[in-house]
């Protein structure tokens, strides 16, 4: 069962359209797997829509707003309705991806995001999602059975959304659909016994904390 959800503020920003694409996609993927969050999002959307389009009491007193004059609504209406074309919604294609000879179906949310090259280190494989969001890096991270990421912390935030399989760390077991947001105050050492595929978003390299693992800090950069 899914135990980890986006917190309220994140859902709110998601609905407002204020999150970067990487995190928006993550919330959407999670909500597709989580009826509870889906319902919250629907409620928030109804509410924001309602308040956005309410006749504002104050509006009636704004008589001449110059800006409103800069746009010729009648002309716009005419232009739009000139064509009777409708948009036929395309059928959504289900895309899949292969890691370590296993095929995974990808969430359709990711359909139009370009995938970069896949890089491998030991039991980890990472495919970059080319979202071009500066310091925010988004990837698909695959861990083969028995693999893991050495004890590390985060300088920024690290979101892990489990798309398939499971992993565990000091804090417990995580399953498909879990939305795990960590920041610099967390240290963990995730291990996947059966293997897993994660959607990850991070805004800084991971930082390995323990003794010999410090030598692995290049892996931190690899995962980020």
């Amino acid at each position: 069962m899914i135990k980890h959800h986006p917190k309220f503020e994140l859902l709110q920003s998601f609905v407002d359209g204020d999150l970067p694409a990487s995190l928006s996609a993550a919330v959407a993927i999670h909500a597709d797997m989580c009826a509870q969050c889906q319902k919250k999002i629907a409620l928030l959307t109804d509410q924001i829509a309602e308040t956005s389009f309410e006749e504002n009491f104050l509006d009636r007193f704004i008589v001449d707003d110059e800006a409103v004059d800069t746009i010729d609504f009648d002309k716009m209406i005419e232009g739009i309705t000139e064509s009777s074309d409708i948009d036929i919604s395309e059928t959504k294609v289900k895309k899949s991806i292969e890691f370590a000879n296993k095929t995974y179906n990808l969430p359709t949310v990711l359909n139009n995001i370009i995938l970069g090259k896949t890089a491998h280190i030991g039991k980890l494989s990472r495919t970059r999602l080319e979202l071009q969001e500066d310091e925010i890096h988004t990837s698909l991270l695959h861990i083969e059975p028995g693999g893991g990421v050495p004890q590390h912390t985060h300088k920024g935030f690290e979101l892990t959304l489990l798309l398939d399989g499971s992993f565990h760390d000091e804090h417990g077991e995580y399953v498909k659909g879990d939305f795990i947001m960590l920041d610099g105050s967390h240290t963990h050492n995730p291990i996947s016994a059966e293997g897993c595929l994660c959607y990850t978003v991070a805004n800084d390299a991971l930082h390995f904390t323990q003794g010999i693992n410090k030598l692995l800090n290049p892996i931190g950069a690899f995962i980020y």
Partner: protein, 205 residues
């Protein structure tokens, strides 16, 4: 597995609907646009939503032209996609809000990073998605990996390998195409393949 955020909502009519908005009326107009391409109803919708969208967009975009573009884009999507609105699944305001938010999101992304990937309708679908067909993310491991290794070969050898394996030209065709003796094509191909073998490992043949 894929479901639509908007569609799950409704059975339990969620929030208290404001008295300030005539929901049944908006819904009727939107349905008339969807069913009969009714311009009068569209004009009513435009008069209701247009100015509000404009003032919201002015809060998000630095200049007036961009705010107007949001109005233009949102309302043309309403015109062209009204058939995707399902009155049993939610309010007209919610649907138009989704259209506006999506237009805004794609435009902001375009302005910030010059990205024109229009991801919003994947993130916030306007309607329940239809049957899914399957498609693999075009052989991402093999081809991409192969390509990156290929790029390390000298240009002359690259051309031969790409022509032979990717464009499926025969060695004879390649000789004509590249204006080279057949023997040169053959030796370049052999040379390239032996290098690739080293790079990719013996079991990739």
């Amino acid at each position: 597995m894929q479901t639509n955020l908007l569609s799950r909502v409704t059975s339990d009519k969620p929030i208290h609907m404001s008295e300030k908005i005539n929901h049944p009326q908006l819904c009727a107009w939107l349905s008339a646009v969807a069913n009969t391409r009714d311009k009068v109803s569209f004009t009513h919708l435009f008069k209701f939503f247009g100015p509000k969208i404009q003032s919201i967009a002015r809060g998000k975009f630095p200049n007036e032209a961009q705010a107007n573009e949001v109005v233009q884009e949102t309302m043309s999507n309403v015109w062209r996609k009204a058939h995707l609105f399902d009155k049993d699944k939610g309010a007209a305001t919610t649907w138009v809000y989704t259209v506006m938010r999506n237009v805004t999101f794609d435009m902001l992304r375009k302005i910030k990073g010059n990205k024109e990937d229009n991801l919003s309708d994947d993130i916030w679908p306007l309607a329940e998605s239809m049957v899914c067909e399957s498609e693999s993310f075009d052989d991402h491991l093999e081809n991409k990996q192969l390509l990156s290794v290929l790029e390390q070969l000298p240009e002359a050898q690259q051309a031969v390998v790409k022509g032979f394996y990717f464009m499926e030209m025969s060695q004879e065709q390649l000789a004509v195409h590249l204006n080279l003796p057949l023997g040169t094509i053959k030796s370049r191909l052999r040379l390239a393949l032996s290098k690739l073998k080293v790079q990719l490992g013996e079991d990739n043949d």
